[in-house]
């Protein structure tokens, strides 16, 4: 899959933003007034910024509001509803904390649940696609949720829980790589089933339909990005989990906390780039590519 910057930014920052909102909704940290304002501003900047980034990959962004109509069948539509629900609930909850020094617990809890639901629906957009075996696994939503929670805990300054969640997110991430590497072969889709010619013999792509490239190749076939995938996996794991983990167990300082956050975000961006760049869409088989 083409690793489009808009979608990488969207999934990374909305995941972190809604992860932070989850912890704020549960009252961690228990802040009010200007401190609460600062936390919510960061969370909204990431969540809303991510959602806005996602509109950049639309061909017709001016019609984006139509995406609210098909919640009965479409995960993308459900995500739109969950995101708006979470942002409205948390907005009201934040107003109570910032302006009235009052924590309306029920709003916070509902907002926290909707924030996690948003991350889950985002993950299901990718998980539902049988055409991309690497994403079409039960572990994919676990990966998105565990990363969002770990990042949220980190941003919320919840050190002890962040340490545990970072390790869990790292283990889940490694597991998705190990399982993902076997997914295409396990899906049973190959050039033989794609062409139906496998019963005759070994199928080889002889000539593509056009001399030039096309939308399908640009969007779905990204072989070059996988060249350094092992190195990038190691880099992302170090930045995303190892560096923040070490910085958090050191004696607390705001500078280390900032470094941990920056390192984590860089690691998640790298991992998310790989999430797209490594994903093989079965349509590539018609071109003899993966």
């Amino acid at each position: 899959m083409h690793p489009a910057p808009s979608v990488i930014f969207f999934t990374t920052f909305s995941g972190l933003g809604f992860g932070l909102l989850f912890f704020l909704g549960l009252g961690y940290p228990a802040v009010t007034g200007w401190m609460a304002f600062a936390f919510f501003a960061i969370a909204y900047a990431m969540a809303v910024g991510g959602l806005l980034a996602s509109t950049f990959h639309l061909g017709r962004p001016e019609r984006a509001v139509k995406a609210f109509t098909q919640w009965r069948s479409s995960w993308l539509s459900r995500e739109a509803w969950c995101a708006v629900g979470a942002l409205v609930l948390m907005g009201l909850y934040a107003a109570g904390l910032v302006f009235f020094q009052t924590r309306i617990a029920i709003l916070g809890i509902l907002g926290a649940v909707m924030s996690l639901a948003t991350v889950f629906t985002t993950s299901m957009i990718y998980t539902q696609l049988k055409t991309i075996p690497r994403w079409n696994m039960n572990i994919t939503p676990v990966k998105f949720l565990s990363l969002s929670l770990a990042g949220g805990a980190l941003f919320a300054g919840q050190v002890s829980i962040a340490l545990v969640l970072l390790v869990i997110a790292g283990l889940v991430q490694v597991f998705t790589w190990v399982e993902g590497d076997k997914a295409l072969a396990a899906s049973g889709t190959d050039m033989a089933t794609a062409t139906g010619l496998g019963s005759i013999g070994k199928v080889r792509a002889f000539e593509p339909p056009h001399t030039g490239t096309n939308y399908l190749l640009r969007e779905f076939v990204h072989e070059i990005g996988r060249k350094h995938s092992q190195k990038l996996r190691a880099i992302s794991l170090i930045l995303m989990v190892a560096v923040p983990f070490v910085l958090l167990i050191l004696p607390f300082s705001h500078f280390f906390a900032l470094l941990a956050v920056i390192s984590h975000v860089a690691g998640v961006l790298t991992a998310r780039w790989l999430f797209f760049a490594e994903a093989e869409h079965v349509v590539g088989l018609y071109y003899g590519k993966r």
Binding site: R63, L197, E219, V283
Partner: protein, 253 residues
Amino acid sequence: MTTLPAKTEKKLGLVIDLDTCVGCHACVISCKGWNTENYGAPLSDQNAYGADNSGTFLNRVHSFEVQPEGDAAAQLIHFPKSCLHCDDAPCVTVCPTGASYKRVEDGIVLVNESNCIGCGLCAWACPYGARELDQAEGVMKKCTLCVDRIYNENLPEEDRQPACVRTCPAGARHFGDLGDENSDVSKLVAERGGMDLMPEQGTKPVNQYLPPRPKDTIPESGPEFDVLAPFLEPVAEEPKGFLGWLDKTLEKL
């Protein structure tokens, strides 16, 4: 709604004969022509006369080489591919706006372009690469089965079929109701062992592909008699007359 209909009254679709297709790409051109000039946004090209040209096509012809086991000769198979109008079309259910839908009356999968936000998710969900996001218009384009031809009473009756079928010079493309087991296309599929592409994806495609016949094996009934064979015998095996004398003389030297 982007939920799929439980049942469609007809299953209009194509039967593509891989034994007959000669790979001329006439279906590609006629499709592009009709669908650029008629219903919906035109199929745009980018940098059409430059070095890195590309464009939107609803039908593309791949060519595959198939090497059978043993020493049999490889076969070259031309492989046209367009929307298969699947019964369980994954492109329809993922659509967030309801722009993608499958028609109850004939099973054709269509895009309502004025509702499409160009998110591309339907193209991600299609295993066949049947949908392409038009780069000029920003909306998803796909085969309509020439819905503006097949019911069009302004056209002569012989033209009321998809442009690709009408234009195919080899007769490799057939159009009809694959839900009716007595239709010509259904009989053809039954007779020739029509197949689904990527059946494991669970899309239940309506379009069927007829497998190519083996090209280089002698039937068990013996080699077929070729009426031209007597005319292809060598006419003069041994030179005669002066050339014969010259040949023999030069051999002796």
